[in-house]
């Protein structure tokens, strides 16, 4: 168990990187608290796997350093860092039984056989593998194999952190939530620092207490699931988290008012001077918009045309257009959607303001 500190970290796969565009991982400072459950979320190519490999020691960063509990481990190979890793595809030792697989890391570290046996049985019980111990590992299903690779990390009581690299890729969809919840229970029980890399928002938000969202080699937000949903720090987070994603509209801001397409909207707070020349936008989630008939709408309403209505069963998505801009509105399962002369009603408290993609703090 350890607190992991990343300081001034950056990585490029090129031998002599010049500009920032040559870096797969741009300047990064972050602290992973001891015993935390973290997710590293982002689309493919955002640098999340690079970051994971730097933490595990498979890649040496171009710049910066990594410290485990204050000790610099930047130059240490994986085997000396005391971390465990679960890979995308289950890695098991084919010729060994489940028991031998779980015992392998302990035997390699020359632990006494009696202690090995006790530990292996304890972990197997927790992973529901107790009845499979004598079976050859290669005859098991993908999810059982993935549990074995996790178990090989858990058996080591001294592990600094457990890293997961998209571990549910090959798992049947209906088993995924089962494994996810089991993982969460295990985290509570062991208090290992866990870092979970994924491009799947459900996996990230379900597993983690804190989600680190990455985009184009940069960390754009670190936050709880609630923060990511309510106050996305970057327009990308707004788009990436939630389905459908956040609506983004170009706007002019003055004080506690926003102007979009010639209509004025109240905001939940007043904003100071925004950076000159910046691209200013407001963002609001489709859940915080509603539809009303023009004239009947109270408060922050903007006229819109309804282009299409998608029925998702438990709710409907109205695809509307305000001027040039597409705006999605989540409407309840039943209830009327006005066919023409409709207005989109904004909840002022839920509007976020962005300058060049980054969220602007209220007041300041």
């Amino acid at each position: 168990m350890a607190r992991i500190t990343l300081e001034g970290l950056a990585h490029s796969y090129l031998p002599a990187p010049r500009g920032p565009e040559d870096f797969a991982l741009k300047q990064l400072d972050h602290v992973w608290e001891d015993g935390g459950a973290y997710a590293l979320l982002g689309p493919s190519g955002c640098g999340k796997t690079t970051l994971l490999n730097i933490i595990s020691g498979l890649i040496r960063p171009t710049r910066g350093e990594i410290r485990f509990d204050g000790q610099d481990v930047t130059d240490l190979p994986p085997e000396q860092r005391n971390i465990a890793q679960v890979f995308q595809f289950p890695v098991i030792y084919d010729t060994m039984t489940v028991y031998e697989n779980l015992a392998f890391p302990l035997c390699n570290r020359r632990m006494a056989p009696r202690a090995v046996d006790a530990r292996v049985r304890e972990i197997a019980e927790m992973l529901d593998l107790g009845s499979e111990l004598r079976r050859k590992a290669r005859n098991l299903t993908a999810d059982a194999k993935q549990k074995i690779s996790l178990g090989r990390g858990l058996v080591r009581a001294d592990v600094a952190a457990i890293l997961f690299d998209e571990p549910l890729t090959v798992i049947d969809p209906h088993l995924k939530w089962l494994l996810r919840s089991q993982l969460k229970h295990l985290h509570r029980r062991f208090d290992f620092t866990m870092i979970y890399v994924t491009h799947d928002q459900t996996e990230a938000l379900t597993f983690a207490d804190k989600v680190v969202v990455m985009y184009e080699g940069e960390v754009v937000q670190v936050g709880t699931p609630d923060e990511l949903f309510e106050r996305p720090a970057h327009t990308f987070v707004g788009y990436f988290i939630g389905s459908p994603g956040m609506n983004i509209l170009p706007a002019e801001i003055s004080g506690d008012r926003a102007r979009i397409e010639g209509h004025e909207l109240p905001l939940g707070a007043a904003y100071g001077r925004l950076p000159a020349g910046a691209r200013v936008e407001i963002g609001i989630r489709p859940e915080f918009l509603s539809l009303a008939r023009a004239g009947e709408a109270a408060g922050a309403a903007v006229p819109a045309t309804i282009r299409a209505v998608e029925d998702v069963g438990r709710y409907r998505i109205a695809r509307t257009r305000i001027g040039e801009h597409e705006v999605a509105v989540v409407a309840p399962e039943d209830g009327e959607i006005p066919s023409d002369g409709a207005c989109v009603v904004f909840d002022p408290q839920r509007i976020n303001v962005y300058a060049d993609g980054h969220r602007v703090q209220e007041g300041g």
Partner: protein
């Protein structure tokens, strides 16, 4: 040119893959085959395409029997879950390949390739090879190739399953428009109810090789004729409970639920029933009306970004509740949930629907 399946069955090695399926697919229609893995979606598609020959029954195209005719002689196009393209050919040549085989003259070929590319937003990347494209663009290329062929029957076997969810979201929204412009018979296999609803058209729900219901998609969703169909067309799974109705009250068998026999239960004869209700109709806050409260234990919470799926234990039942926004409930803590009698599906001992939230079609 309608495609008719009449009493189709398919047995492989003594195992029934498809059992007595009769369907009529009209020209220019979108037809969704909805069912879990191994429910027979792919088998049925192979029979429609002529890749396999049914053990029993007839396949007709425009009234003409084609049962034994091999796939080469039918006018069929297929798109698979994997992105299948010619890796060394450009996108243009990939799309053009079926036309080259058909010996279409150069001018027509060029026009049709460009039209298909425009429809699928591939125009800027016609000169690239598939390996230089993203997964979504690769699948668009495969779709364009299927469309350009001008086939009477286009079969799509979970075409979006291998895409990241944001890309899936994008393509899902576009597909109905693309299909409508083509005029062929589309058959689209999926495991996801949401996808079926977004595509619209007609849906056939499959369960263990049988078609349990076939009709307009929203109708199948809102008025399933039996428990199997309702379960198939619900994700997360439908919540169910056996109840005994006696006079004015209904009592839960596996869970401590006491309901006044109103809403869907009103006017039914006394006896044993199974009630079913969708996860978003299991409320975490009182929904108003005549909802009934009961206490459950939280098993795990999954967070998808804009919604939370709360798995709950009630008596011996495992239920799921969907709530909008982020709700992190402590595991193993008690939680108050509400059920609205007006939202219940009621099934008889044989699993047939006897009453539902809206006037249900009488069981035929």
């Amino acid at each position: 040119m309608a495609l008719e399946l009449i009493g189709i069955s398919k047995t492989v090695g003594g195992e029934a893959h498809i059992v007595d399926v009769s369907l009529t697919l009209e020209k220019g229609s979108i037809n969704v085959l909805l069912g879990p893995t191994l429910s027979g979606k792919t088998s049925l598609m192979r029979l429609m395409a002529g890749l396999d020959r049914p053990t029993e029954g007839q396949v007709r195209v425009g009234g003409r029997e084609v049962t034994g005719e091999p796939v080469q002689r039918r006018n069929v196009a297929m798109v698979y879950q994997q992105f299948i393209n010619y890796p060394t050919l450009t996108v243009y040549e990939n799309i053009a390949s079926p036309l080259r085989v058909a010996g279409v003259d150069r001018a027509t070929l060029d026009r049709r390739v460009r039209e298909a590319a425009e429809l699928l937003r591939l125009s800027p990347m016609l000169e690239r090879t598939p390996l230089e494209l993203s997964g979504g663009q690769q699948q668009r290329t495969a779709l364009a190739r299927a469309l350009v062929k001008g086939a009477e029957l286009v079969l799509l076997d979970e075409p979006l399953a291998n895409l990241d969810y944001k890309l899936r979201e994008e393509l899902r929204a576009e597909l109905p428009r693309i299909f409508q412009e083509s005029g062929a018979i589309f058959v689209y296999a999926t495991t996801e109810p949401t996808e079926a609803l977004l595509l619209g058209g007609r849906t056939a729900t499959l369960h263990q090789g049988r078609v349990t219901q076939f009709g307009p998609t929203p109708e199948v969703y809102r008025q399933p004729i039996d428990l199997t169909t309702a379960r198939t067309f619900s994700d997360p799974p439908l919540n169910v409970l056996a109840v005994t109705k006696q006079g004015e009250r209904a009592t839960g068998v596996g869970a401590p639920l006491e309901l006044a026999a109103e809403g869907s239960l009103a006017g039914l004869p006394d006896g044993r029933y199974t009630i079913g209700f969708r996860p978003h109709h299991l409320y975490l806050a009182p929904p108003g009306g005549r909802a009934v409260a009961l206490t459950a234990t939280v098993a795990v919470t999954e967070i998808t970004g804009s919604e939370s799926f709360v798995h709950l234990d009630v008596g011996s039942e495992r239920w799921v509740a969907i709530a909008h926004g982020i709700h992190e409930l402590a595991v193993d803590a008690p939680a108050q949930v509400w059920i609205d009698p007006a939202r219940l599906f009621v099934f008889d001992g044989g699993g047939r629907l006897v009453a539902g939230p809206r006037p249900a079609r009488q069981a035929a």
